[in-house]
């Protein structure tokens, strides 16, 4: 069965003060209907840019999609006209963003903004759209939905605004929901609530979710498969259990080890908080080798010269690392 969303060899470049920088370098991934794909990585690794590229929202005029394809239900969105893209956006692929505080228009009511997508894509009249918006507000557990629908964004808290965003994204029953760091800007307790909500909505509607985050806990709970990105490239991909239990790429291992561990009980040495030494290199200074080589404890000379191809590490699980090359030269397709 063909994947619902398939990205192949996506390349995105940006014009900056330092010249043309490649922010996404040959990224390929796919999302199947109903599944939850997690994309993890540090800030700046390109995960948000991937999401924007899918939606055709790469910032112009500085950004350019230079190569690759984004196939949604078999059709390449990058080659499609603007009119078709607009039809897909908000209707069949929806997106929620990181900053709920600023992602809603302050001069329109919440109801207006939620209903707008329904009026546009589903052709609903204003009365029907409003009723539907109230339904959605209830689905995202906002109390007193009938009253609050006429309120303005500044009258809602951060967590509630994110719920409003989710309502707005799901009102047209999209097949894919892209959630770009939906909880990073929120308090810890609220974060858990939002993830619970996303899970609930996914389970009731069967929406595929692309969850972009650096919260490994959320990944563990929600994701079916995981993609790990570093400096604009994909470095590892696999089922969530495999990634968490047997991370193949040194970067993934580092990410997982960085999580603070809680040890109950007295006695025993306190563990030192792990970290990955060094910082992400500036993108315009990347060479042709593996971008992680500078920080990798196991780097080989080869790592700096050539970017490793995808190598199988298990069932449906592969990583781009020279350390993995099996002796008989077997490689992933």
């Amino acid at each position: 069965m063909a994947a619902l969303l398939e990205i192949e060899n996506l390349e995105v470049e940006f014009d900056t003060w330092d010249g043309r920088v490649r922010v996404l370098d040959g990224v390929s991934l796919s999302v199947n209907a109903g599944e939850t794909l997690g994309i993890v990585g540090e800030s700046g690794c390109g995960k948000s840019m991937t999401a924007l590229a899918i939606m055709g929202l790469v910032p112009k005029p500085a950004g350019h999609v230079t190569r690759g394809s984004v196939r949604f239900q078999g059709e390449d969105l990058l080659a499609a006209g603007e009119a078709h893209l607009r039809e897909v956006r908000g209707h069949r692929i929806a997106m929620i963003f990181q900053e709920p505080m600023t992602s809603l228009n302050p001069v329109f009511t919440v109801g207006d903004q939620i209903a707008e997508a329904a009026r546009l894509h589903l052709g609903l009249g204003s009365g029907q759209a409003r009723a539907r918006a109230i339904e959605m507000l209830k689905a995202v557990h906002i109390p007193e939905a009938e009253r609050r629908i006429d309120e303005y964004p500044h009258q809602f808290s951060g967590g509630m605004r994110q719920r409003v965003m989710i309502a707005m994204a799901l009102i047209c029953e999209p097949q894919v929901l892209i959630a770009d760091e939906p909880t990073t800007a929120l308090d810890v307790t609220v974060q858990a609530q939002i993830f619970d909500l996303l899970q609930e909505l996914r389970d009731t509607r069967g929406t595929a979710i692309v969850l972009i985050t650096h919260d490994m806990g959320a990944i563990a709970e929600m994701a079916d498969r995981v993609v790990v990105m570093y400096a604009g490239r994909k470095v590892e991909e696999g089922p969530v259990e495999a990634i968490l239990a047997q991370p193949a790429h040194p970067y993934t291992r580092g990410l997982l080890a960085c999580r603070p561990q809680l040890h109950l009980g007295t006695g025993g040495a306190r563990t030192v908080l792990q970290e990955i030494p060094g910082v992400v290199p500036p993108l315009h200074l990347l060479g042709r080798g593996c971008a992680f080589a500078e920080r990798c404890a196991h780097a080989l000379p080869r790592c700096r010269e050539q970017f490793p191809p995808e190598t199988m590490a298990g069932e449906g699980h592969h990583a781009s690392c020279w350390l993995l090359e099996p002796a008989d030269g077997r490689q992933a397709a």
């Binding site: 940006f14 014009d15 900056t16 003060w17 330092d18 920088v21 800030s43 315009h284």
Partner: protein, 291 residues
């Protein structure tokens, strides 16, 4: 996106950084050149071309180029236009500059004290600022000049006295912003006196937008002076560009040159100042420049 842009060059000192950005701004450089030209004419002109603009040199209303004694023509009384233009720069520039200085000093003081102390002081100063804002500045200046005799000094003070409100607002906003910053809190923590903090720590950091505003204020003051002399309210013994326009305006149809040329001078001067001011603004705020 900002991260990408920020991951760029090595750090330079803020003033040198500003200068290098300014240098690249062609409009600002053009402005600077025009300004230099105007200043040179104002300073050296009367010495190089010592004709008294009040002297009658030829027939009235002579067009430019018709009379060798008056290259730019004569006005309705027969006075040399070129002399007027050469002489007219000085009062315009001087009044503009000093009036802007006065307005800046008053404005900075009001804004700094209000922004720093807050509370009742701020409320009081704010009321005063609003009060001055409500009065149409030119009218008020006109009244002041009428009541206190029209001399260059009166005009300068009148303009400075009415034009300080935007400077005060700007300074106050800057101080409110800077007050929150770490190094101010640090200065307070080590027990520096209030006045030391205001004038020694905060003001130097608020300087960039203030410098830009002061530059633009000079332009505004020049327009003010031109308006006042156009209406005949400036020193009658000093020939300024505004006065030339004002005295000749009734003969506009027959004598377009007497009105056009002085106006072009004012326009170029203010334009030059605006360009330089804009350049400074961009230089201090590289973030705002579109690529």
């Amino acid at each position: 996106m900002d991260r990408l842009a920020a991951s760029a060059s090595e750090a330079r000192g803020p003033w040198r950084e500003a200068w290098s950005v300014f240098k690249r701004n062609y409009a600002a450089l053009v402005g600077l050149c025009i300004l230099a030209l105007v200043l040179t004419t104002a300073i050296a002109g009367p010495w190089l071309y010592p004709v008294d603009p009040f002297d009658i040199v030829g027939a009235p209303k002579t067009p430019p180029g018709a009379d060798a004694d008056a290259l730019l023509g004569t006005d309705y009384l027969g006075r040399d236009l070129l002399a007027g233009i050469v002489r007219g720069g000085r009062p315009t520039l001087m009044v503009g500059f000093f009036a802007a200085m006065i307005a800046t000093v008053i404005g900075i003081t009001m804004g700094a004290l209000g922004g720093y102390y807050g509370g009742k002081v701020d409320a009081l100063l704010g009321r005063i600022t609003e009060f001055f804002q409500v009065l149409p500045a030119l009218l008020f200046a006109m009244v002041l000049v009428m009541l206190f005799s029209p001399s260059l000094v009166t005009v300068t003070f009148a303009i400075g006295f009415v034009a300080w409100t935007s400077m005060a607002r700007l300074t106050r906003a800057e101080f409110l912003r800077i007050k929150q910053l770490e190094y101010v809190r640090a200065a307070r923590a080590i027990g520096s006196s209030n006045s030391r903090i205001i004038w020694g720590v905060m003001l130097p950091n608020a300087l960039p937008p203030i410098i830009v505003a002061a530059t633009l204020a000079t332009g505004t003051a020049i327009l003010f002076e031109a308006g006042l002399s156009f209406l005949g309210l400036s020193d009658p013994n000093v020939m300024s560009w505004g006065m030339m326009i004002g005295s000749n305006r009734n003969y506009l149809r027959e004598m377009w040159w007497a009105v056009t040329f002085p106006g072009v001078c004012i326009f170029l001067t203010v334009l030059a100042i605006s360009l330089v001011g804009d350049g400074l603004n961009d230089a201090f705020n590289p973030r705002l420049r579109t690529r």
